[in-house]
Amino acid sequence: MSLNLFQLLNGLTFAALLFIVASGFTLIFGLLRIVNLAHGALYLFGGLVGYSTVKLTGSFLIGALASMAFVAILGVALDKGLLRFVRGAELRQVLLTLGVAFLLNDIALVIWGGDTYTVPVPEALMGAMRVGSVFYPKYRMFVLGLGVFVFIALWLLINHTRLGALIRAGVDDPETTEAMGINIRMVFLGTFMLGASLAGLGGAVGGAFLTLHPGADAEILVFSLAVVIIGGRGSLVGAATGALLVGLLNSIGQVVFPELAYFIIFGPMALILAFRPLGLFGRTA
């Protein structure tokens, strides 16, 4: 029984990380209609920047902030520098971000080499704490809390602020929003930065309990894709539901079929697609 609680916590904390990464992905997908396949690469890059910053400054907080800031700037460069040439052409945008993903991963390989890194955990979060009947790493509980915090913060931002109202208006009808004197491009850019910075945050936070290595970007990308495909484009609640499903199934899968755990996320994805091709909370464009 205690093993089960341990697995449950593993699943929940992984789900929290997935939510942080996938919420950024789904925000950009939902509002800008851009499927940013460089999101995984942004995660890895953010994690590595976070690692180097923590090593340099000794502060996990500064490391995480540096990851977010750096990746947000990368996001701006991607949007303003490259994606503006292919606006409106959905498929060309996706394939372009794919090219960017290859480029970023290769640059990461040049700078950091092919080694495996783990972002150092701050001292206050080291060790284990008692959760119910098991001892569980404090840090992973922190990630769980952070995931919940990000969910609440994003939910409040989208539903209860002016910026959130602009974002929602932009999703529903960008032309009318623009006609009302809103600079929709700035809203789009801001959302892109926010979404990208969430990938950076995910990299720094995830890099401390999953490892950062070449290929980590692809792993997190496929999990994020599964989350967004299950949850539906642009939906926060969908991303949270998808993250919980994928996170829990992944940790159950690792116990039951260790070698085929990857395969387990295939099940719910297939089922949901069979009945709701746009995902649980997806809406037609």
Binding site: L96, V100, L104, D106, F266
Partner: protein, 325 residues
């Protein structure tokens, strides 16, 4: 719909462009026969590789260019065929030819599974879904160490004796590729192929005309997977080694890039695209180990400046000239 396919200029059926097509085909075939006689062994194996990847690119083009469904999962279908062929001939100790057939069958079945899940979607969703499905295959190949050998991969049993010579193997591949290409050509120019174009341009129109859109897409996907499977099986003999890198995303991406570079919806453009990308890879790797960077940059460059591809661009220019005269 903002599909890549809408960029294709497939007006190959006017008599005049047909003559041009036949001429360039004859020249291309002549080059393919003469090349191995003048090239050294290593270069012959590169041309062999170009043929195999051209087939993969054509299989992607059938869906992307004609049905308007861009897949990023074909690397997995291709790679599964390679895995099965090598697993059969080494671990199971079976005959390589049976292994190749089993590989093609496995790839076709995998394509059918992908198809059932993916045909209800279109556009970016289709792309994402095939990407995710392909990556699941990659994940399984990587982690299911007891069967796939994990990261270390599996070594094949060696080519049959009469195929060890580079030139012999090249001609064997060419002998398979030519009729396969012909059948693909017939496929996209059959009534079925025209129905696919109709679906690409307007699904609702085709539906109201009484076409079973889902069934057409399903068959197109399965056939496309079958051809990708042939390419994967040939690759098993060519490479004699398989590892997760054979099923990983970059292979799907390379295949798609070749189809796009040649020209989506031109089918034979895939040969041009495969030749361009494979040569680029071989030339670049003389100077630098940064091939993924070059691949990424090429992708970005083509998406921004030349999404219609080489053959597509030539067709557009010819069509314009034709209009003026």
């Amino acid at each position: 719909m903002s599909m890549l396919g809408s960029l294709s200029a497939s007006n190959l059926d006017s008599p005049r462009s047909r003559k041009g097509l036949l001429l360039s085909l004859a020249l291309g075939a002549l080059a393919l026969v003469i090349l191995p006689m003048i090239l050294p062994g290593y270069q012959i194996s590169i041309v062999t590789q170009i043929l195999i990847f051209a087939l993969l690119a054509m299989s992607i083009d059938v869906l992307a260019g004609y049905a308007g469904r861009t897949s990023l999962g074909h690397g997995a279908i291709f790679g599964l065929s390679t895995y099965v062929a090598i697993y059969w001939s080494t671990t199971m100790g079976g005959h390589i030819w049976v292994g190749l057939l089993l590989g093609i069958v496995a790839a076709t079945i995998l394509a059918a599974i992908f198809a059932i899940l993916a045909i209800r979607t279109s556009g970016v969703y289709f792309l994402l879904l095939t990407l995710a499905l392909g990556m699941i295959v990659w994940g399984v190949c990587q982690r299911w160490t007891s069967v796939t050998g994990g990261e270390n991969g599996m070594r094949g049993a060696g080519r049959p004796a009469f195929l060890i010579d580079h030139a012999h193997f090249y001609f064997a591949v060419l002998l398979i590729i030519i009729p396969v290409t012909w059948s693909l050509w017939r496929l996209v120019h059959s009534p079925f192929g025209w129905a696919l174009r109709g679906i690409r341009d307007s699904e609702s129109r085709m539906r109201s005309l009484g076409y079973n859109v889902q069934l057409h897409l399903f068959i197109a996907f399965v056939l496309s997977g079958f051809y990708a499977g042939i390419a994967g099986a040939l690759y098993a003999v060519f490479n004699d080694f398989v590892s997760p890198s054979t099923v990983q995303l970059s292979l799907s991406v390379s295949g798609l890039l070749m189809a796009i570079t040649g020209g989506i919806g031109t089918l034979l453009g895939s040969f041009v695209g495969a030749a361009a990308i494979t040569s680029l890879e071989n030339i670049v790797s003389i100077f630098t180990e940064r091939w993924p960077s070059v691949l990424g940059l090429t992708f970005i460059f083509i998406m921004i400046f030349a999404p219609e591809g080489i053959v597509g661009r030539v067709q557009l220019l010819l069509a314009r000239k034709h209009q003026q005269s």
